[in-house]
Amino acid sequence: MTALTKAELAEKLFEDLGLNKREAKDMVDIFFDEIRDSLSRNEQVKLSGFGNFDLRDKRQRPGRNPKTGEEIPISARRVVTFKPGQKLKIRVEAYAGSQPQ
């Protein structure tokens, strides 16, 4: 099983839409850059049909170094969560693969 990468997404734009290779590559780069920049401005991203990228602020909590067992606090942080949209959830649920990953 191979994973889909930016190179293949660009290839898809080249084949299906006839963008030239440069435009296709730039399009894919800018697509992910803009999503990342939006999230870095603490701005939620809502892509209808696909899903929402949300931001959550986590408070500091106690943690532990799993190797040494030493207690170290996990600092307060902001994290990205992805909530798949209804359409994507339904499409994925239909995947009949019997091999849990």
Partner: protein, 96 residues
């Protein structure tokens, strides 16, 4: 930011492409990503993150209205793991 705002922002950075082209490109990308996940494959975007499927085991659920029990089949759900660059960039924004 919504999908249409994302399209506008891309158009402003790719002025040689029409808004129509960019809209079609964004739809194509999202559709291809959905397609990939629904055929059980992963997506790996360096610096952004990866999408994969997580398995949910079959369980006995309950109809919240009637209280009746229902057998729920095992299923797959999409999962996103942010990449290091995205994690760091987002976390740094909290300090600002």
């Amino acid at each position: 930011m919504t999908k249409s705002e994302l399209i506008e922002r891309i158009v402003s950075r790719q002025p040689q492409l029409s808004a129509k082209d960019v809209e079609l490109a964004v739809k194509t990308l999202l559709d291809h990503m959905s397609q990939t996940l629904s055929s059980g494959d992963r997506i790996e975007i360096r610096g952004f993150g990866s999408f994969s499927l997580h398995y949910r085991a079959p369980r006995v659920g309950r109809n919240p209205k009637t209280g009746e029990t229902v057998e729920l089949q095992g299923k797959f759900v999409p999962h996103f793991k942010p990449g290091k660059e995205l994690r760091d960039q987002v976390n740094d924004s909290m300090a600002v």
